[in-house]
Amino acid sequence: MFFRLLMESFRRQRRRKLLAGIAILLGTTAVTAMLALATTIGDRIHKELAVYGANIVIYPKADLLDVKIGGVDVKPASGGSYLKESDLPKLKTIFWGNNITGVSPELPVELAAARQSGGTLFPARAVGYWFDHDFGGLKTGAPALHPWWKLHGAWPTANAATQNAMNVAVGMKFAQQLGLKVGDKFSLHAAPGVGASSSTATVVGIVTTGDDTENEILLSLQDAQMFAGATGSVRRVEVSARTKPEDAFARVDPDSLTPAKREIWYCRPYANSIAYQIREAIPGAQAEQVRRVEQSEGNVLSRISGLMWLISAAALLAAGFAVSAAMATAILERRGEIGLMRSLGASKGAIAMLFYAETGLLAIFAGTLGYLLGSGLAAWLGARIFAGDGGSAEAVLIPVLLPVVVALALVVALVGSTPSIRAALRMDPSAILRADA
């Protein structure tokens, strides 16, 4: 009888229930979309950011031995230790070698520059790079790892230079300082007693980077090696690799794990495990995950999810008020019914139960629908926000969200309808006879 009563009365007052149901539906849709995005957004942002820049850097192990005096690092910025350029192909041989999507070695060298030969010398920092290097079939280099660099002109071509004439790109600020345009020439001088002494450089490109690189000269790696007198050497290598987002397991020390666990760790493409494999592959190399990106990722995430929680809470609150209003009129319209039930001996509890079951049922329907709609919305939003990564609208059906969302809908509906149900029960049951005059 209870279910019959519930079902029949559930089907009544469609307009009012539709109103309350839509309120719950909208609230839960927003919450589902927010929750679904919040849980997947980490992956998506990571994917997005992973397109840019390195997530692993390699440098000589010797750099780990910090030389500090009075807290100040006195180790020379371009210290004497180097990695061998000839070791870099070993990167392709590690377990996750195929996940490496970009490699950019660097060799900084301090030079002096003059606008004209014999003119005033300015100190100038130059960095040797690969620009479009064939790395075992992978075309890579500094531009690939710094996709935000804007180039006017062309990148210097490696091996095109002779000892005395070379092509370079210069940073935008450096170009302004010396009044250089694409096609201009200037003279470059090495520090006394090191490598080649001087050369005429032709500006083939001007680079805007938004950072210190704008004050620098960008050379081919070979030319930098020549100036530094360090043939076949690199100072630092940036590596971009497809990685699995970092989790707690990613951060463990692999050497503290059991062999079986260590194997699992090793075979997961965490940035950490890839760095570990690089250390194994290249003797004398220290490889580390770059955290700069991930930290900003974390900031973005916490800000976004804060906002999402706010929106979700607001949506639910609005739903609660809407349910409250809809139920108030719905129950008011049914005072007669309530009075009759009281006259038949129904306790307040039995009647409250009926109305709560009714709103609960509504909440379950609307909540489930809201979950589905919200999941769709999340997929759509995800595809919109992250359109750049070529990802299609992935379905974001997260099953654990269903009970969460339905529970939220229930809480909102039950709390929202409580004032009207209480008011209905406070009503004097004798009103049923008063109605008859």
Partner: protein, 252 residues
Amino acid sequence: MSEAKVQTGPLVDPYGSTRDDCAVIALKQVTREYAGHGSVVRALGDATFSIVAGEWVAITGPSGSGKSTLVNLIGCLDRPTSGELKIDNVDVASMSATELDRFRADKIGFIFQQFHLIPYLSALENVMLAQYFHSMTDEAEARAALERVGLDKRVSHLPSELSGGEQQRVCIARALINNPPVLLADEPTGNLDAANQTIVAELLQDLHRNGHTIVMVTHDPEMAGLAQRRIALSHGKVFCHPVGGPMVTLRR
């Protein structure tokens, strides 16, 4: 019988206090006051009378005389401000609200002027609703109750598909379903045409013959005449009259 036969003035219960032993309903100086705006409205004052099992009593009086107040008290929908009200020898005043709900389901069968059927439930289900709130539903019993009021062909009809008289008969079946010691009818024929009034009146007479106690509010002298006794209300005061009539035989 006519209005002229009605004596006025306060009366002692003509059957005396010995009747209290077999009284289904017994009021002793029952007063119900409503707190109005600044003043107190005495809807019923010092009512003392009793109704014995099997009796059919009509409650009459002009509008505002306290009929509904009295029916609410007897129906356990309300409690007296002062005085003692016993239904089936249990004092209602001492009961908690939940106990009163229970008690009402057990003791009182309501018959309303407006029928008060749940519009989305069939005739059968409306009867079963009373079973549900009382204890357990029993479809066979509910069908039997509808058959008794002559609606065996109408069990699955919705109230909107029934005539007023049929609706009132569903209401009577519902009132009977839990075998309450008291049937409380508020203007049971107030909304019916003459033909249906006759059917309902005959049904009530039949119930009376079968020993049901009926307390009935009515404006209709003809209906009041069917009762054995009239309780006339005037300004919250009770006047009891024995009403004689050819078709009434008081069992004693």
